[in-house]
Symmetry: C2
Subunit: 333 residues, 2 copies
DNA sequence: CCTTCGCGTCGAAGCGCTTCGATGGCCTGC
DNA sequence: GCAGGCCATCGAAGCGCTTCGACGCGAAGG
């Protein structure tokens, strides 16, 4: 069974090859009767345009690259949701997704772009001083970044508004009358790596607390139970009046609850806890955590939309910050 | 800056286009001096072959599809390791990876295959009665499955040897002198979905226990703490002499330890626990779990190798089972 | 010395598609 | 009744690459 080409369709429908092409692309008007005849032939023969030929002729591969940081220690559920949402959204725009790992580095991006394998790039987990950023500026292919490098000038970046998320948590606690609050953040290495989002959360938190006249404290937090326990204990020792705790570290969130239980503090009676984490983690905790969710799906969808807009030559905002949403559950009052 | 084509390279090196092509593909002998001149030009001009043109002319896209079950509730770390290993291995064979979600179903596979977007397919998490299997048999493009459908005839399947893994656990416990053992498996839905690996583990476990004259018991196990606790309690009530427990459920593994602690059984003094799970989970538990690991990386690498072999027209075994390895840690004696 | 062979290279024919300019038929308006 | 215009369709020229057959030349063989 030889594969069906556009010429087969044309012959079957009794029209020229170009007519079939125009029916399929809609780039020229074709009479309703011809159009129907062609579409029938397409269906009957089971025609699928050859991707390579199309890419060659039209200079559009209809494929975008998704560059994921597939190193260990990522927030897997969020990453997965994000990837799923990117693939699904891309399909809605009739595009496919080429999966790449960050470890190919700038060369990998250059390769897929220069070979016209992909029309555009989506990079996740961009760091403050990301070696790929200068390349992206040079590339003819449009790109969208998840996260913010030091200088987003000339790029297109999407992210959750982490500063706002931090602030939202502080405000929530302020509204409930808490006067002394603290934030436990990501592991120290995350700050050192300079991904940016962790710092921005802290900054937003501290700023909002200050604005509301709260006494606030923010520090990194490791992920093992023992270290979380030690951190929580230290915090409570130093700040006996502490009654509100924000945890921006999904691995640690559960452990914080465990530590508080062991330390004899009830949640939420003695200490209110707010987490910045995916909903499923917040819901599964006990008590269920009041949380600000990381809207991975929104981010993915939005990123693809922006990329598609750029592919069509539209200009898009350099920076898109997604508004965080706080869901109140059992762990705060 | 127009993109560099093979014609540019040819002109720059003072040779014919076809010569450049042969230098790059190695399909005909080219004298060392010419070869070097061409390679120099390639480097100097920064030439990258156009993927579409190459695919069109050679009928090889140098892309494989990776179909992941991006629904929730998967074992994310394993899935990620697997995906990473697939991408990395594919790159070693100079191939790229197109990411697809299972929810496009058979039509999606047909689409990418018929459009020659990909040369081969890698499907993860194949189910016993998978609707995609009949299609794969028909497709001209080769494919490799992770997991086993009911009838693997004519397909190429790779998986951990789960039966062996179950047996290994039973044998480990038998060697240590345990006489009454049990296995807590995946949630009930997994068995109902019929992915196969869960059943095979159970079967291997039961068979090995029987062979060693042990009293054995195997049942599904849900993932929430409360349900795990109930299951463990029921088991201990029914089988007071139970001293060895195998857990094939990474979400439940930690909870089992918690439940045993609450029920006053020390691990490993009173009950030895063996898990079938990724190493990181086993190591993070306390006490660290003796475990049989799911070698996601091996599976990915092996799957890509098989696919590449098929792409080159070699015949490969229908079934490849990866030998499980047991790592002894603190939870068993 | 001439033929034969093989090595290294070239030229040209596609691969299947998009797109541009051309064409022919038909309607409109004066 | 005819010029002008528009609509629907066609034909052909590439897009950048691979690959096949051909060719020229020096070495080997008779």
């Amino acid at each position: 069974m030889r594969t069906v080409t556009i010429a087969d369709v044309a012959k079957h429908a009794g029209v020229a090859v170009s007519t079939v092409s125009y029916v399929l692309s809609g780039k020229r008007t074709i009479s309703a009767t011809t159009r129907q005849r062609v579409l029938d032939s397409v269906r009957e023969l089971g025609y699928h345009p050859n991707a390579g030929a199309r890419a060659l002729a039209s200079k559009r591969a209809k494929v975008i690259a998704l560059v994921l940081p597939l190193r260990a220690g990522m927030n897997l559920p969020v990453l997965m949701q994000f990837a799923t949402s990117v693939v699904t959204t891309a399909r809605q725009y009739d595009h496919d997704v080429l999966l790449m790992t960050a470890d190919e580095g700038p060369d990998g991006l250059h390769r897929v772009a220069a070979s016209a394998l992909v029309d555009g790039l989506l990079l996740m987990d961009v760091e403050i001083h990301d070696p790929r950023v200068p390349l992206l500026r040079k590339l003819a292919e449009p790109s969208v970044l998840i996260g913010f490098p030091a200088d987003p000038e000339g790029l297109t970046c999407v992210d959750l508004d982490f500063a706002r998320a931090g602030a939202l948590c502080a405000e929530h606690l302020a509204d409930r009358g808490h006067r002394e609050i603290a934030l436990l953040g990501a592991p120290r290495v995350v700050y050192e790596r300079g991904t940016g989002f962790a710092e921005r959360t802290m900054a937003g938190f501290v700023e909002a607390a200050r604005r509301h006249g709260l006494q606030a404290d923010a520090r990194p937090c490791e992920e093992s139970f023992d270290e979380v326990y030690a951190a929580v204990k230290l915090l409570l020792d130093e700040r006996p009046g502490l009654s509100g705790l924000v945890v921006h570290n999904e691995a640690a969130a559960g452990h914080v609850l465990g530590a508080l239980r062991i330390l004899g503090r009830r949640v939420p009676e003695d200490v209110s806890v707010v987490a910045i984490c995916p909903d499923d983690i917040a819901e599964r905790a006990s008590p269920a955590l009041t949380s600000v969710l990381i809207p991975a799906e929104d981010v993915g969808r939005q990123a693809v939309r922006l990329l598609m807009a750029k592919l069509e030559g539209q200009t898009v905002p350099e920076s898109t910050l997604l508004e965080p949403r706080l869901t109140i559950r059992e762990s705060s009052r």
